[in-house]
């Protein structure tokens, strides 16, 4: 107990200069890097690298949590088969916290973990609102937190000084601005109806989409914006109202079970005959196509912040192919966005540990590890997944449903992929997202 006290208070004392120290030590060590090259690394702790995950295990978004859990089980097994992180230290998921318990409980758990010192890292989280509450708390506790899923652009803009938090998911700007870029390329689009879930995710997307359209100066009018409740079970009233308007384009950031229900009831209500084109950007991919099957309309674009579609660059990218195959073999279904996000998280972790160890020649402290995950890049289905500081910048990828694919499932997947560079859909480092969107430049050429 006493030892812990002194540690906590000393860490507090040092907190102000933490960033300087970390950078200093990293830089200093970098100079010495060659001295350590090829040598055995000392100081690798005997016990495994202990992760606690925070995911929805119950409540409406739990399906996302389930995908993430599946993927992480698989990835941890894979990593451990090769000996663990840098081939030396195995990973153990020691606990999973149910996000449904709410931020009170989560923050309290973070505190307990920080204090007991028996966990090396917190990983996951789905809800944007929860991330905004838990991430600063983890940072206060100087407890490493690898945020893998939520998209709110406010996370680092509101808490710019967090040193113990990185996020490997792209922000929702990528999806929304990606959609703007898609509209720029479309012909004959004059009227748009937006349908977004009635919470921050939905409102943020709608706002960025609308502001972006205005900024790039396309001649498109959003004639109506709808916000169905999260977890809505009956969209038919929305569907018939939209069908009535016959807009040229439908934009939606509905996700998970909501988008499946919406599209299915939309098909039933003739929605996709009434609109010419749809952009469904709420982290939608294989699970949606699986549940809709043949009923999936073809005049839609699916996608968003990242190329997380099983058959996107499946042949070209070996690691992606392995990930998809393994996942399919293990769970008899194709990975969805929750799974991909988790994959990105584990890649960042591996990469971070590797780079930290190679620089300091020793196993990194939590602080050093988090610092090492800043500004790295690693493989993703869409090519390089780059971190600007602690925040990943993802490109936008969209595709159209098609039955023409080689994967062993009998439902449609996407084809005709459109790839939009990360720099086209994310603000430059240190520019606030909404400021950037308001001044968005049209794509040249």
């Amino acid at each position: 107990m006493n030892e812990r006290n002194t540690r906590i208070s000393r860490r507090h004392f040092l907190k102000g200069s933490a960033a300087v120290t970390t950078l200093g030590s990293l830089a200093g060590c970098a100079l010495l890097q060659e001295d350590f090259g090829g040598e055995e690394i000392d100081g690798i702790p005997d016990e495994p690298f202990r992760i606690v995950q925070v995911l929805f295990e119950s409540g409406p978004p739990a399906f996302y949590g389930e995908e993430a859990m599946n993927a992480s089980d698989m990835l941890v097994d894979q990593i451990n088969e090769d000996g663990g992180l840098i081939g030396e230290r195995e990973i153990e998921v020691v606990d999973r916290l149910d996000e449904d318990a709410g931020p009170d409980s989560l923050i309290s758990d973070v505190q307990a973990m920080a204090q007991e010192g028996e966990v090396d890292m917190l990983m996951g989280i789905i809800s944007s609102a929860h991330s905004l509450a838990v991430a600063p708390a983890a940072d206060d506790q100087q407890f490493p937190f690898l945020v893998t899923m939520p998209g709110t652009y406010q996370l680092f803009e509101e808490n710019p000084d967090m040193e113990y938090v990185v996020r490997t998911a792209g922000t929702n700007a990528a999806g929304a601005v990606g959609a703007v870029r898609m509209v720029e390329q479309m012909d004959d689009i004059e009227t748009v109806v937006t349908v977004d879930p009635d919470y921050a995710w939905g409102h943020d997307h709608q706002e960025m989409f609308e502001a972006g359209l205005e900024a790039v100066g396309v001649d498109v009018e959003i004639i109506e914006s709808r916000y169905p409740e999260l977890g809505e079970t009956d969209y038919s009233a929305h569907v018939s109202a939209i069908a009535d308007q016959e807009p040229d384009l439908l934009f939606s950031s509905l996700w998970g079970g909501d988008i499946a229900t919406f599209v299915s009831q939309g098909v039933d209500g003739g929605l996709f005959e009434a609109v010419d084109e749809s952009l469904l950007i709420g982290d939608t991919g294989a699970p949606l196509l699986n549940s809709l099957g043949d009923a999936m309309p073809e005049n839609v674009w699916l996608g968003g912040r990242g190329g997380y579609q099983p058959n996107y660059r499946y042949d070209e990218d070996e690691s992606h192919r392995e990930f998809v195959d393994e996942y399919y073999e293990r769970y008899d279904q194709l990975p969805g966005w929750g799974a991909y996000h988790e994959w990105m998280g584990f890649q960042a972790l591996q990469e971070g540990v590797e780079s930290a160890v190679s620089i300091i020649g020793d196993w990194p402290t939590g602080e050093q590890l988090m610092a090492a995950m800043n500004n790295i890049a690693f493989e993703a289905p869409h090519g390089q997944h780059t971190m600007y500081g602690p925040q990943a910048v993802a490109p936008a990828v969209f595709g159209r449903p098609t039955d023409d694919h080689d994967l062993p499932v009998d439902h449609p997947l996407l084809g005709e992929f459109e790839f939009i560079e990360a720099t086209e859909v994310n603000p430059p480092q240190d520019v606030l997202t909404m400021d950037w969107v308001d001044e968005l430049e049209p794509v040249t050429g």
Binding site: M1, R4, N5, I8, H12, K15, E57, S58, D95, R96, L97, D98, A101, G102, P103, D104, S105, I107, S108, D109, Q111, A112, A114, Q115, E116, S128, A129, L132, A133, P136, A137, D140, Q141, T152, Q154, E158, N159, D198, Y199, A200, H203, D204, Y227
Partner: protein, 345 residues
């Protein structure tokens, strides 16, 4: 805690009761000192935060029990007051630039009282399930306002982050989170809890408290004794709302980030759950209930993914076996029985 009064016929009884009261005061004093010293002695930040969390909800549950236990009204809308307390603090800090903790707490308590007056005025005419559902519906409308960010103050479901308030002009808010909580804020909550307990203890034994019990026990009789019952039910709602609002305001700083979820009816359900678990028929039951609920949830969460089931089972069993006694009243009854047996032998 006996609700009996000293009687006229036997002066000795008064003295005995006085002794009991002294004993209680002593116990309370010792408990207060022990709790006040806890963070400093153990330096355990996790426990400190857990205690702070429990105490905030203990205040809320005490306040809620004014309506349920003493006035006999089941409100399912108390999240409205808890959330109002929280949002008042954060909005006053962000929009009005008020950073003094005392001012913020007073402001939040008053605002919760205002919301309590509005919801109360609309609902006190109704009874039982209608009262429960009307308070639920009205509170839910408040939730919609916050979730849809009507008025642009709440930032919707993302919620708002909150800075640490200062105290009497001392910029203590700049202190690191640990030090702020363990060295200062925890004690503010502790003082507020004990102040709430003392004030409520007096108020519920005052003519006003007796009037609430009259309404609970027999509304018709109370009215036929010349009590304007609707007005007193409203007073009860306002008093209750203010205390719950204070709990919320205090909690806002502990959690540091406020979302509309604190206004949702499931939040009301948690407050009801806590109060009932502890025992609505006892004065201190709600405090025990808040502690029991939060600890149970923490344990169940760590122990099993099926923590909903565990909580549901506990609620079911407690309601069926202990009813208004709750775990606190049940424990007291058990102690009494053991003592009786000892006296017999």
């Amino acid at each position: 805690m006996s609700t009996r009064l000293p009687t006229f016929e036997d002066v000795q009884i008064k003295e005995v009761k006085g002794a009991i009261l002294d004993k209680r005061l002593l116990t309370g004093g010792v408990l207060f000192v022990a709790l006040a010293l806890y963070p400093g002695l153990t330096m355990n930040a996790y426990h400190t935060r857990l205690l702070a969390w429990i105490m905030c909800f203990a205040i809320a549950a005490l306040g809620f029990n004014v309506v349920l236990g003493y006035t006999g009204l089941l409100s399912f809308g108390h999240a409205a007051f808890f959330g109002t307390g929280m949002y008042t603090v954060v909005i006053a800090m962000q929009s009005a630039g008020i950073t003094d903790l005392i001012v913020l707490l007073v402001l939040a308590t008053l605002m919760a009282g205002v919301v309590g007056a509005i919801i109360g005025a609309l609902s006190v005419k109704t009874h039982e399930i209608y009262f429960a559902l009307l308070t639920l519906a009205l509170a839910q409308l408040l939730y919609v306002l916050a979730a849809r960010d009507v008025g642009g103050l709440t930032r919707g479901t993302d919620g708002i982050a909150l800075n640490r308030p200062d105290f009497l002009g001392i910029p203590i808010g700049d202190a690191p989170a640990h030090i702020y909580l363990m060295g200062f804020y925890y004690h503010v909550i502790l003082v507020c809890l004990f102040a709430t307990i003392i004030v409520l203890w007096i108020v519920l034994r005052s003519p006003f408290g007796l009037t609430l019990k009259m309404i609970r026990e027999n509304e018709m009789r109370a009215e036929m004794s010349g009590v304007p019952i609707l007005r007193y039910r409203l007073y009860s709602m306002i008093l209750s709302a203010m205390i719950v609002g204070l709990g919320g305001a205090l909690y806002a700083v502990v959690v540091g980030h406020i979302t509309p979820e604190y206004l949702d009816w499931t939040m009301s359900g948690e407050i009801v759950f806590m109060t009932l678990l502890g025992g609505i028929g006892t004065f201190l039951g709600p405090v025990i209930g808040a502690g029991g609920f939060i600890l149970l949830q923490e344990v169940a969460l760590n122990f099993t993914t099926y923590w909903h089931f565990t909580m549901g089972l506990v609620l079911f069993v407690v309601v069926l076996t202990l009813r208004e006694k709750g775990i606190w009243g049940g424990a007291k009854a058990l102690v009494d029985r053991v003592n009786d047996r000892r006296d017999d032998s």
